[in-house]
């Protein structure tokens, strides 16, 4: 009898905590997100990232700050022992390594692997147009939402195997979990998000003097 009661309680609790979203709910949810973000599209956040890549035995953990202006401008500063600054102005993407005094310069939109970085950030922080590029399912857990995004288009499939998002009650992304086709995984947790306008200069980058600039994928 006690076991049956326990099962009933667990079942009820699960019903309360994880309520599946219908396609109409998902559509409605994204409509509200768009409404909320239309007035304040820019995002600034702190993040913590855990990357599991097949080349390494253990995940890499890093943290830093992020500035994002949709659809494709961002600045990402990573601290710690291996600091880096990644800046995209929408056309070019630079990754600056202060320890090595070197800069990598990539062109965006040429189906290069760095497009995945933009796509990941855009998907996580902008959620614009994701319904057309992903098949979306989700659950409502309390006041929060957990969404699973499966890419529809072959171009997205080349970047992601799946993309999980967790939104809080204010429709702000708290956590993303991205699995890439090769099995590599990146889990990112966002905190201290603000939506004040970001100056344009944030997304510009000039290599410091004495820095070696390379274009690993060509121009």
């Amino acid at each position: 009898m006690r076991f049956a009661l326990l099962v009933w309680l667990l079942f009820t609790a699960s019903l309360i905590q994880a309520q599946s979203l219908s396609q109409a709910d998902v559509k409605n949810l994204f409509g509200r997100i768009r409404e909320r973000r239309a007035s304040a599209p820019d995002v600034r956040a702190d993040f913590q990232e855990q990357r599991t890549i097949h080349l390494l035995n253990k995940p890499i953990v890093s943290s830093g700050k992020l500035w994002f202006h949709p659809p494709n401008k961002f600045r990402r500063e990573v601290g710690g022992n291996s600091p880096s600054v990644t800046v995209s102005n929408g056309h070019d993407l630079w990754i600056y390594y202060p320890n090595f005094k070197s800069v990598e310069d990539y062109s965006l939109g040429k189906r290069s692997p760095v497009d995945a970085i933009i796509a990941a950030i855009n998907t996580a922080l902008n959620l614009e147009d994701v319904e057309s590029t992903f098949q979306i399912s989700g659950t409502k857990v309390g006041n929060a939402y957990e969404l699973r995004l499966l890419p529809r288009s072959p171009s997205m499939k080349r970047m992601f195997q799946r993309f999980d998002l967790k939104l809080n009650s204010d429709f702000v992304v708290e956590r993303t979990d991205m699995v890439q086709p090769g099995g590599d995984q990146i889990v990112t947790t966002y905190s201290d998000q603000t939506r004040a306008p970001i100056p344009e200069s944030t997304f510009e980058f000039t290599p410091p003097a004495g820095t070696q600039v390379t274009s690993p994928l060509g121009r």
């Binding site: 080349l55 035995n57 990402r76 880096s84 090595f100 690993p216």
Partner: protein, 837 residues
């Protein structure tokens, strides 16, 4: 006994014997045709000999594997681009399953794991093939300290978030593959400019190498039947909107051209015979002589084909036009001879006497007409083009026999007891015109002078110009699916202009390597100087036995055991997964094996898997004979002018390296003087021959001058009409001038010779003008019927000739005749004709 009397006697009294001779000739010709016929549908063989670039094109076409390549393209609507991307692998799988498919390239091999693995497989031979100092520098990365430093740095960069170290370690875990492939990558940068997906993603290209045993027309037709059957089911699994499956390539073209040739022969010959027959019947109201004329023409065609097959071994596609041209030319003789025969019969002569009269009166004109035409066409032998030469010889032989047969065999089809035509309304009209223009020539002469002067001024003036299309496209069949597919691909894909081919053949591997090293170095300088836009060469793939032996000795000094241990320890220390670096350990094993001085030198040809996409690149550079190679140099601008080809011819070669420069654009630019001047010079030479012959024949300056002016008027009016109708010249219809000149001379000879000799204007002049008009109309019909041909060059030739012959005929009737009446007046006296001489 005169020749005309002899012929008349034989035709009247020895008919069974003549029939026997005809049958024997026909059997012999058919036997030759059946046993030896081989059609050459290769457009390249229409180009002239004596140009190295043309020889290079033939070599590239014959010896390089890419001639067995078909290009497939899938084209979808813009809203279906994602579906197309998803469908592409299904399409490729289906392609690979086809029995005629040997290899498929669906994208850059660099973008696929298999492509990267294949490239890693050939790293060792390419590494050993590095220039020794570069090799020393590259191999130094295997020193323990350098391994530790590199992996530590890459680990730090991964931590910092760079995507680059992951690519680098995935592709080149030891750091030696990149430098080994650097020359290969540098030399092939030009290839990367041609992706296999259009920028708007609505088109995807798939390159397929087929396993067809030969490139013969029948083999290509067989292959394309299977390919088209595949196209019919290629959309299986596609769930989007309209999807076009396009195919182009050498086999597609050969198949279509050979099939269109069949259509062209049937359609043009059929319509030519029909139209000519119609004109003949209207003129003479007789069917059996018409049949006889067709038979004589067919026999002359058979004789010409049999002789040419015996001489040349095979016939060019140009010969397709031969039958219709010969019908157009040969029918003149038949009409003239039969017209005069009928006139004699109307005048009351008996069968044998009428034959003798017609041969006596017009045999000389037919002989000289055939001679000028034959010599005119034989001049094409000087063009240097196998196709043009064959056409010239074919028509020369054909026209000679046509003249002979029309003066003999034609009479086999005329019944001796057939009564003459009672009322000839065509002759009546012609007679009235001749009478009028002889009695009062001034009005006709003034009108025709004004008309032809106006047309000639317009025609010969440089503005507007008569355009010359030297493009190969002008020789492609009309509505060609292969051509349309190629155009659709060119529209969608980011195109670059065609590079210049540099074909190099060496005696051994070392010489080939040294040659390409020199060429690459020289072309690099041209690139820096802005004289080249880009280039790609097989330099990196041409192995140097000398360098490889030297580098192998250096490699033997590497302590591979220590390197292996250091790599393992460093991977552990930096936290790398050993499993992910298995290829690094494998590469160390391969390098150690290669360092063994007793082992054979590694070769990328043996190590590159048979199905690797890289073979598409390799096949561009290497012929079936690996010592025959080609490189590609892209000039700063498309090669369109002869001066550009001359400049490239000076700058691209390297001293001491035998090189053939080629490519379609380059070859056509190099041939511009030939196409613009050589054919014109030949035509001019033949025109000089014609006017000299006329001078000897007429021995009268005024008649000679009238004839020359008539020819000039005919050509001038022809050019004016072509300009007005926006018809362009191309490699084939440029011949039309020669043809029109030859036929125009014939018409002049018929009329002028009769005018000179006759004292019975109403009989002889009117009697020859009617056949000339009928002959002109049949020639216009014969050539005009070529307009039905699928091959635009052939149809262009037919239309141009029809226009030219029409104006030559008009000039002969409305200018030559009244001009002669003014220059050499004769009295029209129908009531009291003088006795026949």
């Amino acid at each position: 006994m005169r020749m005309s009397d002899l012929i008349a006697s034989i035709m009247a009294n020895r008919r069974p014997l003549v029939w026997l001779g005809v049958i024997l000739i026909a059997i012999a010709c058919v036997a030759v045709l059946i046993t030896r016929i081989e059609i050459d549908s290769d457009v390249i063989n229409m180009l002239p000999k004596g140009f190295r670039s043309v020889e290079g094109l033939k070599m590239f076409d014959r010896d390089f594997e890419q001639t067995r390549e078909l290009t497939f393209a899938l084209r979808c609507q813009p809203q279906d681009v994602d579906k197309l991307e998803e469908f592409a692998p299904t399409f490729v799988d289906n392609l690979r399953k086809q029995p005629w498919c040997e290899r498929v390239l669906a994208g850059s091999p660099m973008e696929t794991p298999d492509g990267i693995r294949d490239l890693q497989a050939i790293a060792v031979p390419l590494l050993l093939n590095l220039e020794p100092s570069s090799f020393e520098q590259t191999i130094s990365i295997l020193q323990p300290q350098k391994i530790r430093e590199r992996l530590h740095r890459l680990r730090m960069e991964i931590e910092a978030g760079s995507p680059r170290p992951q690519f680098e370690l995935g592709f080149d875990p030891l750091g030696v593959i990149g430098p080994a492939l650097k020359p290969f990558a540098e030399a092939n940068a030009i290839e990367e400019e041609q992706p296999l997906t259009s920028p708007d993603r609505t088109m995807r290209i798939f390159l397929v190498v087929t396993n067809q045993p030969s490139l013969s027309a029948f083999e290509c037709q067989r292959l394309m039947r299977e390919v088209n059957a595949f196209r019919g089911r290629a959309r299986d699994g596609w769930d989007g909107g309209p999807l076009d499956v396009l195919v182009t390539g050498r086999s597609a073209y050969v198949s279509e051209i050979s099939l269109s040739m069949r259509y062209d022969i049937v359609a043009t010959l059929g319509s030519s015979v029909l139209l000519v027959g119609l004109v003949f019947f209207i003129g003479f109201r007789r069917w059996i002589p018409l049949f006889g004329m067709g038979f004589a023409l067919l026999l002359s065609c058979l004789v010409a084909l049999a002789v040419c097959l015996t001489v040349f071994g095979r016939l060019s596609m140009l010969a397709v036009g031969f039958c219709a041209i010969l019908v157009g030319l040969g029918v003149d003789f038949a009409i003239l001879i039969f017209g005069r025969y009928q006139q004699a019969r109307i005048d009351g002569e008996e069968y044998q006497q009428a034959i003798a009269t017609s041969v006596a009166k017009l045999g000389r004109a037919v002989f000289f007409g055939a001679l000028t035409t034959a010599v005119g066409f034989l001049a094409l032998v000087l063009s240097g083009s196998m196709g043009f030469s064959q056409l010239g010889v074919l028509i020369a032989i054909g026209i000679f026999f046509a003249g002979l047969f029309m003066c003999t065999i034609l009479f086999l089809f005329i019944k001796p007891d057939q009564p003459p035509q009672k009322h000839d309304w065509v002759f009546g009209i012609v007679k009235k015109y001749v009478c009028w223009s002889v009695k009062r020539p001034a009005p006709v002469l003034i009108f025709s002078l004004v008309l032809f002067l106006g047309l000639s001024v317009f025609g010969f003036s440089p503005v507007p110009p008569l355009r010359f299309e030297a493009s190969v496209r002008s020789l492609e069949p009309r509505n060609s699916r292969a051509s349309q597919a190629l155009q659709a691909i060119m529209e969608k894909m980011p195109t670059r202009w065609e590079p210049v081919l540099a074909i190099v053949r060496a005696h051994d591997a070392q010489e080939l390597h040294d040659d390409w090293q020199k060429i690459s170095a020289h072309w690099s300088e041209l690139l820096k100087a802005g004289k080249l836009k880009g280039f790609s060469t097989p330099a990196a793939l041409c192995l140097s036995p000398d360098w490889m032996e030297k580098n192998r000795k250096s490699l033997g000094q590497v302590d591979f055991q220590l390197t292996r241990e250091t790599l393992g320890q460093t991977l552990d220390a930096e936290g790398f997964s050993r499993d992910s670096f298995s290829t690094a350990f494998k590469l160390l094993d391969d390098l150690q094996t290669a360092s063994n001085p007793n082992a054979p030198l590694p070769s990328w040809r043996k190590q590159l898997p048979k199905g690797a996409g890289w073979w598409f690149l390799v096949d561009r550079y290497f012929a079936k004979d690996p010592l025959l190679t080609t490189g590609f140099a892209t000039p700063p601008k498309p090669v369109t002018m002869h001066e550009q080809s001359e400049q490239l011819g000076r700058e691209l070669p390297v001293g001491g390296v035998p090189m053939i420069l080629s490519g379609w654009s380059y070859a056509l630019a190099e041939m511009q003087p030939w196409s613009h001047h050589q054919l014109l010079i030949i035509s001019a030479l033949m025109a000089i021959f014609d006017v000299s012959l006329l001078a000897i024949l007429y021995r009268d300056f005024r008649l000679w001058l009238i004839q020359v002016i008539t020819l000039a008027f005919g050509i001038g009016a022809m050019i004016a009409t072509m300009k007005a109708l926006n018809l362009h010249l191309n490699l084939l219809n440029v011949l039309s001038f020669r043809l029109v000149l030859a036929i125009g001379v014939d018409y002049g000879i018929y009329v002028v010779l009769v005018w000179q000799k006759t004292r019975e204007l109403e009989h002889d002049v009117a009697g020859v003008i009617k056949p000339v008009i009928l002959a002109g109309l049949t020639a216009v019909s014969g050539f005009g019927s070529l307009g039905w041909a699928h091959n635009p060059s052939l149809s262009g030739l037919g239309v141009a000739c029809a226009i030219g012959i029409f104006w030559s005929l008009v000039a002969t009737i409305f200018f030559t005749l009244p001009a002669m009446a003014v220059a050499k007046p004769k009295i029209w006296n129908e009531a009291n004709p003088p006795p026949t001489i």
